[in-house]
Structures are given as structure tokens and as C-alpha cells.
Assembly symmetry: C2
Homo-oligomer: 372 residues x 2
């Protein structure tokens, strides 16, 4: 398993086992660092201990903000910024999955520009930012290599083009402690980054190259036995490729619907929400995109012809990897449809407009019905 | 044919028909620009006129240095730097293939750091550089998206890690005027960037993803009818991918041998030299790399088993695309072998050491013999 590095966007990304040792090359001139984490995974994965050790060896003060929750709110981003400002931090190191890295992105902006997270969600201009280092703990987010952040305000989940991390670490050792369920969720997230990127209006050959390869690798590596280092390396590589694809060609209807769902039920894991509504969304996307057949074939090895074929192929794939949840398991029912509709066609309309077809209300209701 | 842009390394790259119009977004604060070109292709392609028009519309002074030759010398790089300095240029715009872009890279360094090109070939540290914009005119160099420059001093050709362009334009319209012979040479150059990158010690999954896709596209698009915009778009895309692969995992023995050849006969086109010695080089590389079979299969669609198979498959490919030159056509004979040997195992040893096997003198002589 080779370790390597390259620069994409504004991020220098290190990939492979033990790449965290390169962190010390990026600490020049720092005096104080704020480490941002969720409640458990930073420690459980071993990443927090590795980062602390390197900071201590480099004689750099650090404070830990460990209260980021999944589907993080604008208040948390504000809280981290305030915490970093109080500690005069030169740098944020976000250790976690998408939630932690997204919060860290927005906090690194607020900490020096002022304002509140919602100002940036509403388009406030970003003038400066403090250094941001991301230590990625999931093989799904892509946030370590893209410029996006998604935050929650009340029931609204909104994505913005925030910033790239300056430096990111994709070390597959840290994914070994991911529970199997989370491994599935997060790889499904990566798959939908690719699937939506390549079926969006903004798709281009580079997006296709990266998405197809990502889907192939997920198909070959996600399954019963994916809890070993080599599989994690491969799934993480696939997720990173999908992150670049997404950065160039952002996601559309599946992510938009999921953002509405997890805006309403904030304990819903993002990848789980995508998987639940994904199969029927694929039915509609497939009708309008010739790339859909190609990427499903890469994922599953199966030739896909009709939209119904596409839906069934993806449902079979979910079965095979051991995913069998549905909206009703999370308490969603028909009563929620109008609220979801309002969110998708309201605040999230920027996102559905990226698809190469017009999602109608009837289509959305059909997707939700068939995902209950 | 979609146009798109992304940032890799330190380069913002624009890809697709008419992307040159984005040049005006990168001229802020400039007063004087030096345009660097070869003798003819900048004008013949239409790129020079496009660039001049945009500079004029933006009210920016420019001077044109139009004397870069293929296999350019250190003196030319020094000359361009002197020319730019005299004109107080804020920026170099290199319009050409690898020779022009490579010269522009080194000149942009000399212009503000002083010294001579050979100092940098010998490892002198680069402290500053002026802005560099590359307008690429071939679908082979990769120089628009990598950090390398190759210059000639006497009979020596040496590659260095110089710098990335700040901004690059890959506009396939400019490749329509490439003579068919040059189209073949330059695509073979792109293929060997991929082939050598993926069979080098530094190869990694990202290099493989990019190289395999590049080879597939070259195989599908290079041929009798490749002189139209769509084919040019595809071949240029393949060349760009190979450029990134090369940047991460530099070329080794085929490029090293070719650099010796075109150091001796400076009218030899780089891609032509690669093609002449490439087939037999593949025989030896194939023995030591399991990736060789994969990439040849992507290029040709044929399963390749033995080293002899690999050599024959590549010779057949050259036949099909209409390449049939050999070393003796350029006046090379056995008399030259010792000089080539001296160069490859001397000044170019840094390059052959990147292969994942040790090239011996016997192997080199065998490659040259079978390429006569």
C-alpha cells in the first residue's frame, strides 16, 4: 500500500498508511492550535493521540473542542470559531468525518472575518481564513479534498462553497475502527458523490474519469469483509476521487432530498439517508442521463438498460452490502412529505437545479413513497 | 465538448474549445508581458492572434520572443529571461508545445533570481518567479500541468523540477493545425508519460487511474481520422491526464534514452525518438512490471502476456497509427552506441533510477540494436 501526496484545489493531500507523520512539516511558525473533533471517533481511531503527540513534539500549544455532532448546526461552527479566537489559535485541525471537517472549514472563516455562520450560508464574502488542516476519519465525505461545507440551522441544511483545507490527511488506519454500519453509510455517500457528479449538468470528462473509477473500486471493495487495511485503503481512495469529482460537479437531487430528511430528523446518518432514497432517485435520474448506466455497471459489473433495471440493480447492490433500512424505520411517513417538498423546492432548489432534468413534485413524492 | 477548469499542483488549468477567453481574468495589475513562441505554430494555430487581441483589449503592452527551437538550449532560456527583464515584464505567456513551455518555465525563474539556466539544472534553489501562463499547442507535452522542464546544453539534455505554470490553457482548436506526423509524435509522447509513470517505482493508485484512462483514450482516438476537433479534444484530455500522472511519478528509461538521442541529433522530434526506441524498451519494462500488461491492453484492447507479446503489440499499434521510422532513418548507427550509453548511465542516471528495475548496459544495447 503506497503512500503518496499531491495538490488539488488549494489542498495538499497526503494519502496512505502513516501519512500523519507529515503533519510536522506543516506546523512552522505556529504557536497555538485548536483541535476540532466529534465526541468519540477522533480518540477511538487513534488519530487524536497521533496529532497530539506531533504537536507536543513540536512544542505547540493546543486546545481541543470535542463537541461537534453529526448534522452540525451553525451555532457549533460559531462556537468553534469563538473557542479558537479566545485561544488565539493560528490553525484549526479538524479530526473527523464530514461534520467535523465542514464545521472546521466554516469556523476557520468566522474566526478571522467575524459574522455568523448563517451570514456565509447567505452568501457573505470570505476575505480571510486561518490555516485549516483536516484529518479525515471516514471513507465517504470527500470534504478533505473539496471546498464545500454543509451546516444545519433549525431544520434547514444548507451547503456552501466555503474553502479547501490547506492540508489534508487520508490515513486508512483510522478507518479500521469505523463500525461496519458506518462503513456502509460512508461508502454509499462516496458513491452518490460520483453518481450525482457524473449525471449533473456540470459533468465533464475529468468528472467521468474519476467517478467511474471510484464506483468500480467501491463495488469491488465494499462488502462483508471490508474491515481490513487494504480494503480501507481502496475505499478511502475511491472516496477521495469522488470528492474531487464532486468538487468539480456538485451533487443534486439525491443529496438535496437527503438534506431535507436529515434536516427534519437530525439523528439520521447522511449516507443512510442517501441509501434510503437513492434507489428510486436513480430511477428518475437514469431516464435523463446516459452516464447512469455506465456508472452503475462499474459499481456492480451488471449491464443496466432501463430505469427500472437501474433501480433494481442498485437495490440489489444495497442488499449485497447488507443495507436494508427504509424511511419508515426512522419514523418518516406521508405526513412529512409536504415539509420535505417545501425544503427541496425552497431552500435546496439551488441543489436540484444542478441535475440535467427538472425534478417535479410528482417525481419527489414518488421517490419518497417508494422509499418508505 | 464541455469546457471546464480545475486546479492541480500550482496550476489553474482551463480545458476545452475557446477557453482562451478566460485569459482576461488573469491579467489584473499587469503592465507588460513577454510572449514566448516557436517559429511558426503559435501563429499558424491562431493562438498568438487570440492572445494578442486579449492583451490589446486589456491595454497591456507585450513583446514577442519567437525564436524558441525544438530541443531548446539553456542559452535560449537565458535569452528569453534577458528579453523579459529588459522589457520589465510582469508575466511570461508561453504559446507552444513542450519546448516553448519548458523554456518559459526556466526563464520565468532566471528573470527574477538571476543566474543561468545551467545553475538550475545543477540544483540551484528557486526563490522567486514571475507569473507564467502557458497556452499549450500539442496533445503530448503535459508541460502545461506538470512542474518539469527539459533543456539542452551542448549534447546534454537534462530535466529538472522547475515550476508549475500559474495558469494554463488546453484549447483543442489550436491542435487542428498540427501536421499529422506531429499529432502522432505528440500522442506517443503522452502515451509514454503514462506508460512510464505507471511502471515506475513511484507509481500509486492515482497514477494508475490517470494513466490507464489516458492510454484508453489515445488508443481509441489516434489514427487516420484524428484531425478533427472532437478527436483533438479527446487526445488533449488524454495528454493532460498523462501530464498529471507524470508529475506524480516521473518517466524513466524510455525518456532517458530519447533524451540521449535528441541530445545527439537535435532535429529529432521527442515523440518520434520515444516511438523508435519504445517498442523494445517495453520488452524490458514488461518483464518487471505487472502494470505494463494492463496499460497496453487499455491502449490496444489486446491481452498481452509475455514481454515479446508486449513488444509486438506496441509495434502493431505504431503500424496502425502510421508510424514506421527507425533510428537509422536519422543517421544513428552502432558507432553512436557508446556515446548514448555514456549519457544514459551518466548525466541521465537520475532518470533511469526511477524504473523499478536496474537497466543494464546489455539491455540498453539490445534496445538500440532492435531500434536501428
Amino acid at each position: 500500500m503506497k503512500s503518496f501526496s499531491f495538490r488539488y484545489g488549494e489542498t495538499k493531500l497526503y494519502f496512505g498508511p502513516n501519512v500523519i507523520s507529515k503533519l510536522k512539516e506543516h506546523l512552522d511558525g505556529m504557536e497555538s492550535v485548536t483541535i476540532v473533533t466529534g465526541r468519540k471517533s477522533a480518540e477511538k481511531s487513534g488519530a487524536l493521540q497521533d496529532v497530539k503527540k506531533i504537536l507536543e513534539e513540536s512544542g505547540i500549544d493546543y486546545q481541543v473542542f470535542s463537541k461537534v455532532i453529526p448534522n452540525p448546526t451553525v451555532d457549533i461552527a460559531g462556537g468553534v470559531a469563538e473557542f479558537a479566537r479566545k485561544n488565539c489559535s493560528d490553525c484549526l485541525i479538524g479530526i473527523g468525518g464530514g461534520s467535523v471537517i465542514d464545521v472546521s472549514k466554516v469556523s476557520s472563516i468566522i474566526a478571522v472575518n467575524g459574522g455568523r455562520a448563517e451570514d456565509y450560508l447567505n452568501g457573505m464574502k470570505i476575505k480571510r481564513k486561518i490555516k485549516l488542516i483536516a484529518v479525515n476519519l471516514t471513507h465517504g465525505t470527500g470534504s478533505e479534498i473539496d471546498r464545500f461545507a454543509v451546516l444545519t440551522k433549525g431544520k434547514e441544511k444548507v451547503g456552501i462553497s466555503a474553502r479547501y483545507p490547506d492540508v489534508s490527511f487520508d490515513d486508512p488506519r483510522y478507518m479500521l475502527s469505523l463500525p461496519r454500519e458506518q462503513s456502509i453509510y460512508t461508502s454509499i455517500d462516496a458513491f452518490f458523490h460520483s453518481y450525482e457528479a457524473v449525471t449533473a449538468r456540470a459533468a465533464n470528462p475529468l468528472v467521468k474519469t474519476l467517478s467511474m473509477e471510484s464506483a468500480r473500486i467501491i463495488g469491488e471493495n465494499l462488502g462483508e469483509d471490508s474491515q481490513n487495511l487494504e480494503k480501507k485503503y481502496n475505499l478511502l481512495y475511491a472516496s477521495m476521487l469522488a470528492g474531487i469529482a464532486l468538487d468539480i460537479s456538485p451533487a443534486h437531487i439525491v443529496h438535496a432530498i437527503e438534506h431535507a430528511l436529515s434536516g427534519i430528523k437530525q439523528d439520521l446518518a447522511h449516507g443512510c439517508g442517501l441509501a434510503m432514497v437513492g434507489a428510486r432517485s436513480i430511477y428518475w435520474i437514469h431516464k435523463h442521463s446516459k452516464e447512469s448506466a455506465d456508472i452503475l455497471e462499474r459499481l456492480t459489473g451488471k449491464k443496466v438498460k432501463s430505469p427500472s433495471d437501474a433501480e433494481k440493480t442498485f437495490r440489489d447492490f444495497l442488499d449485497e452490502v447488507g443495507f436494508d433500512e427504509k424511511l419508515s424505520d426512522y419514523g418518516f411517513g406521508r405526513d412529512d412529505f409536504s415539509e420535505i417538498k417545501e425544503m427541496v423546492f425552497g431552500r435546496l432548489s439551488y441543489s436540484i437545479s444542478r441535475a440535467n432534468f427538472k425534478l417535479t413534485e410528482d417525481m419527489l413524492i414518488d421517490i419518497l413513497e417508494k422509499s418508505l
